[in-house]
């Protein structure tokens, strides 16, 4: 699989290509931790969600939480990845107070999920495919609190032992935009699957970003630096841009890149060294003797597969095929599970989905999303329900109201609520489809504008001017299609 080409960076001596690989840590959605029964709830009092196992008391043993395994398999299937029927938990040994066991239980040589892929949505409706190297399960660490005492650090073990999926991409990402699109898409897939809530502010999703550069047109990989713990997609983009330029400058000045771990400082907009390769830990991985290898059957995987929801790529394809949506609109609708669900509910409420599906998409994207964005609200807090929007679209589709009236109706529903169909009745917003009423207006306008009539006969497109005039004089209630038909017959075009 070859990577899509990315944006090149102009250096002093020529063009450079960035090579990026990501390790995304996604917190598994589960009630209890990976190897203990303690709660995974966010934001409890420090050390209130800690079992004897999490605190590594003497003689305690880990027991695998099968729900977390299921979630990892679901995620693997959602990434079109190979599911390994046998995988092994290893110990990654290091000393730090956030790791009470003195080791993290992870998967080193035999991860639960193997190679897969993610399709990115890029600007201009383009797509690119990024390979997934592997996905493995591991324990999260606790948290150190340095601000409670001038000379002591405190330890909060609430997060300690919570299940994480580490999802490792191949180094097939070529610029910051692709990296952002990758995390966005991955997050979307995880949220569709319900395997990770994707909440980056709470740290449920964070990325370690490996960045290297090479001269455009070359294929050898340069020395990489790893930017740790990015928990914002836009900062990650900034960090990659900065880091790539930093590396290019060093190489162009005759220097070389030191393999190291770096941290991004969003305040200063720069990365700085955290530890070098020499300071890197020797983790002394070995299979955890407290845990048996993780083994399951093809049938177990098949059963999970059968229960997978429709994922964004499938949904997008269906929207395009069934309702004639543009790829862009379809992408916008499927990007967030909540948006897609909203649109699907609107569709379900329509009298004629095939006729009005595309119209409904326009209304969701342009009117509803536009208005929500303007007011800084999200879809879950929309004052206009999917059912109300279905009714509005139905009214347009069946010709009861025009698009222009529909906007007024939308405004009323947004601010006052109510049943759109009843509102149209009670407020007299119905479109006038009585051709007799329109005919009089059409005749008057034709009679009053002989020059325009001549022009329209020569150039039929100009008939639109007459439609506009009729719509204006009817206060928007005339049916533009009906008026158009009538005009054409009167003008003989």
């Amino acid at each position: 699989m070859s990577a899509a080409s990315g944006k090149l960076i102009k250096g002093a001596t020529g063009d450079w290509e960035t090579v990026i690989g990501l390790e995304v840590h996604a917190q598994v959605t589960s009630n209890s931790k990976l190897f203990s029964g303690a709660s995974t709830e966010f934001g409890g009092e420090p050390n209130s969600h800690v079992s004897l196992v999490d605190a590594a008391m003497p003689g305690m043993l880990p027991v695998i939480n099968e729900e977390c395994v299921r979630q990892a398999v679901r995620t693997g299937l959602g990434l079109n990845a190979k599911i390994n029927l046998r995988s092994v938990f290893d110990r990654k040994n290091y000393f730090y107070p956030d790791s009470p066991q003195g080791y993290q239980i992870s998967q080193y040589l035999s991860p639960v999920v193997g190679e897969g892929e993610v399709v990115l949505e890029l600007d201009g409706g383009k797509t690119a495919t990024v390979g997934i190297e592997r996905l493995h399960l591991e324990q999260d660490a606790g948290k150190l609190l340095h601000d409670r005492s001038p000379n002591l650090s405190y330890v909060d073990l609430n997060r300690c032992g919570v299940a994480l999926m580490e999802i490792v991409s191949k180094p097939e990402i070529r610029d910051a935009e692709q990296a952002k699109a990758y995390v966005t898409k991955l997050r979307s897939i995880l949220r569709y699957l319900g395997t990770c809530d994707g909440d980056m502010e709470k740290g449920s999703l964070r990325a370690d970003v490996n960045v290297s550069v090479r001269r455009a047109g070359t294929t050898e990989l340069g020395t990489r630096c790893e930017i740790k713990n990015m928990n914002s997609i836009s900062f990650m983009g900034d960090a990659i841009e900065y880091e790539a330029r930093r590396q290019i400058e060093i190489i162009e000045d005759g220097g070389s890149i030191d393999q190291e771990t770096r941290l991004y400082d969003p305040g200063k907009g720069e990365t700085r060294s955290m530890r070098s390769k020499e300071e890197a830990h020797d983790y002394r991985y070995f299979p955890d003797p407290d845990l048996l290898p993780l083994e399951f059957s093809e049938a177990y995987v098949a059963e999970i597969k059968a229960g997978l929801p429709e994922l964004p790529d499938q949904k997008k394809a269906r929207f395009i095929a069934d309702f004639g949506l543009s790829p862009y609109d379809a992408s916008v609708l499927v990007a967030e599970r909540e948006s897609a669900d909203f649109y699907e509910t609107v569709l379900a409420g329509l009298a004629d989905k095939a006729r009005d599906g595309k119209l409904a998409a326009n209304w969701v994207i342009n009117e509803l999303f536009g208005r929500l964005n303007k007011e800084g609200r999200d879809i879950t807090g929309s004052p206009v329900s999917a059912e109300q929007l279905s009714a509005i679209v139905d009214l347009i589709g069946e010709g009861t109201i025009s698009g222009k009236i529909a906007k007024d109706l939308f405004e009323i529903v947004w601010t006052e609520g109510g049943d759109p169909r009843a509102l149209v009745e009670s407020r007299g917003m119905k479109q006038v489809t009585d051709l007799g009423a329109n005919e009089k207006e059409v005749d008057e306008i034709i009679a009053a504008n002989p020059d325009k009539v001549a022009q329209a006969r020569a150039k039929p497109q100009l008939a639109g001017w007459f439609v506009g005039q009729v719509m204006k004089s009817s206060g928007g209630k005339a049916n533009p299609q009906a008026v158009n038909d009538l005009l054409k017959s009167k003008l003989g075009i």
């Binding site: 008391m57 003497p58 003689g59 043993l61 107070p97 066991q101 003195g102 002394r284 991985y285 407290d290």
Partner: protein, 490 residues
């Protein structure tokens, strides 16, 4: 009251059931014996108040006819087992005065069945040792002495406190653990019976870990029958230990006295070591002859990878230990020796908290797992382990029911006699480590004495989860060899 302590567990069980005496009387007799035997240093924590409270409670139950299989039986608990509200240290300074809020699965099963806890027993620090000299509470003294000598001898290790206490009639039985021979070697050194069950037969939950893939708990008792009675209460599946086996626990006692006629007993030629003392050789032949006399068939077998077992064991066990002991860092419990940084605090705490043998094994384990050495040591040792396991499988596939070997290469030695060279100490485990490496059950049964009057033991190695055959065969040896009780000098 001395006569009460000299009863076997099975006899005491009968006496309690017959109301010949109460658990409180039996418990008091043992508490008295413990007090009088402090010179042995077998107990690191006596719990007389708890013992009497438990005894009274169980007496009330017995009166109502509700006692469990171990109702009223006073036991000693190796300090490696977590006991709720009772200090648990693994005999390491690093655990300090650690008091667990939880009870190990095995001890909770013993209390469920009505046993009474007399206190916590001494052991080698973190079960690392073959002489019980590495305990932070000082060495345990073997109740046995060489004929006409006052030299204090080791009881073996790491379950030295358990073996010494059972041999000296301080408790009717004791829990122990065995990672490379820590039940069987001290049993052999003290004239007691010790069985290491199949890996997975007993739960490891709540036992301070040494080497997780090798550790297995079992009992030390004065007779084969007593050890079978204790095994039944200790064994069983535990959902909190995923390496424990989900299979029914048989009535092990029913295996006692079962005919061994027609059983094939393997005599492995690789266990005949160069320079092995004549008396060990003689003991082994005698044991074989007794089994033959009982109707068993002796067959020569080969376990070709035996010679690699000890070196491979001393890679695998320290490797796992180096990781298992990382949690003793001074942050959450136990000893903390502050430093100017967290790194310094770790160094200070662990340097002061761990004894020399534990430090040595942590360093060996860290080394063999290091990048660049992993393949040459740890990975290769695991391959050797597979081969050792296969040796036994091949042997059992040929119809062999059990394998007879000496339990130790010598009788108990003097305290301080083997301190200088760690390898000399490690050689004590030469006949026992293979069993842990293969995950098999092994029992040590006293079978005779050496020329200086010290007890010697034989080991029977069984098929996976076939402890019953070991009890049947063990009892044949016991019947032929008689029982061994040290003369009281303390």
């Amino acid at each position: 009251m001395t006569d009460l302590t000299s009863l076997t567990l099975a006899e005491a069980r009968e006496g309690l059931a017959n109301k010949s005496f109460t658990s409180l009387e039996l418990t008091d007799a043992h508490l008295g014996a413990i007090e009088a035997a402090r010179a042995l240093n077998a107990f690191v924590m006596e719990t007389p108040d708890q013992a009497r409270a438990m005894a009274r409670a169980v007496d009330a139950k017995i009166a109502k006819g509700e006692g469990g299989p171990l109702a009223g039986i006073p036991l000693g608990i190796k300090d490696l087992f977590a006991t709720r509200d009772v200090r648990t240290t693994a005999c390491s300074k690093i655990l300090g005065d650690f008091v667990p809020t939880y009870e190990s699965t095995i001890t909770s099963q013993l209390w469920r069945d009505g046993a009474v806890m007399l206190g916590k027993l001494n052991n080698d620090e973190f079960a690392m040792g073959s002489s019980n000299e590495t305990s932070c509470f000082g060495p345990v003294v073997n109740p046995w002495r060489r004929d006409g000598s006052n030299t204090t001898l080791v009881p073996g290790g790491s379950s030295g406190g358990s073996a010494s206490a059972v041999a000296a009639l301080l408790c009717m039985g004791a829990t122990a653990t065995d990672t490379g021979g820590s039940i069987r070697q001290p049993a052999a050194f003290t004239g007691t019976v010790g069985i290491k069950p199949t890996y997975g037969r007993c739960s490891r939950w709540g036992i301070v870990a040494f080497a997780s893939s090798l550790d297995q708990a079992g009992p030390i008792a004065r007779t084969v029958r007593d050890s079978a009675i204790l095994m039944r209460s200790m064994a069983g599946h535990d959902p909190k230990d995923t390496t424990s086996a989900d299979r029914a626990v048989p009535d092990y006692e029913a295996a006692i006295g079962k005919s061994v006629k027609g059983m094939k007993i393997g005599i492995p030629r690789e266990y005949r070591l160069d320079g092995m003392p004549q008396e060990i050789e003689k003991l082994w032949s005698e044991g074989a002859a007794w089994l033959k006399a009982a109707g068993a068939e002796l067959v020569d077998v080969s376990l070709p990878h035996t010679k690699y077992a000890l070196p491979a064991y001393y890679i695998v066990a320290p490797a796992e230990a180096s990781s298992n002991l990382a949690r003793y860092d001074g942050v959450r419990y136990g000893l903390r020796v502050p430093g100017r940084s967290i790194g310094e605090q770790y160094e200070n705490t662990r340097a002061e908290g761990f004894g020399a043998e534990v430090r040595r094994r942590v360093m060996i384990g860290t080394y063999v797992l290091s990048a660049g050495y992993y393949d040459a040591y740890y990975l290769r040792a695991q391959k050797v382990r597979t081969l050792i396991k296969r040796d036994f499988e091949d042997c059992f596939a040929k119809g062999v029911h059990a394998i007879l070997t000496p339990a130790t290469p010598s009788a108990a030695f003097g305290i301080g006699e083997k301190g200088a060279d760690p390898v000399e100490m490690y050689l004590n485990d030469i006949f026992t480590v293979t069993v842990n490496m293969a995950g098999l059950p092994g029992i040590a049964v006293p079978a005779g004495k050496d020329t200086q009057g010290l007890p010697l033991g034989l080991q029977l190695i069984g098929r996976p989860f076939d402890e019953e055959t070991l009890f049947s065969l063990g009892e044949v040896i016991e019947q032929a060899a008689g029982r061994f009780t040290p003369a009281r000098w303390w």
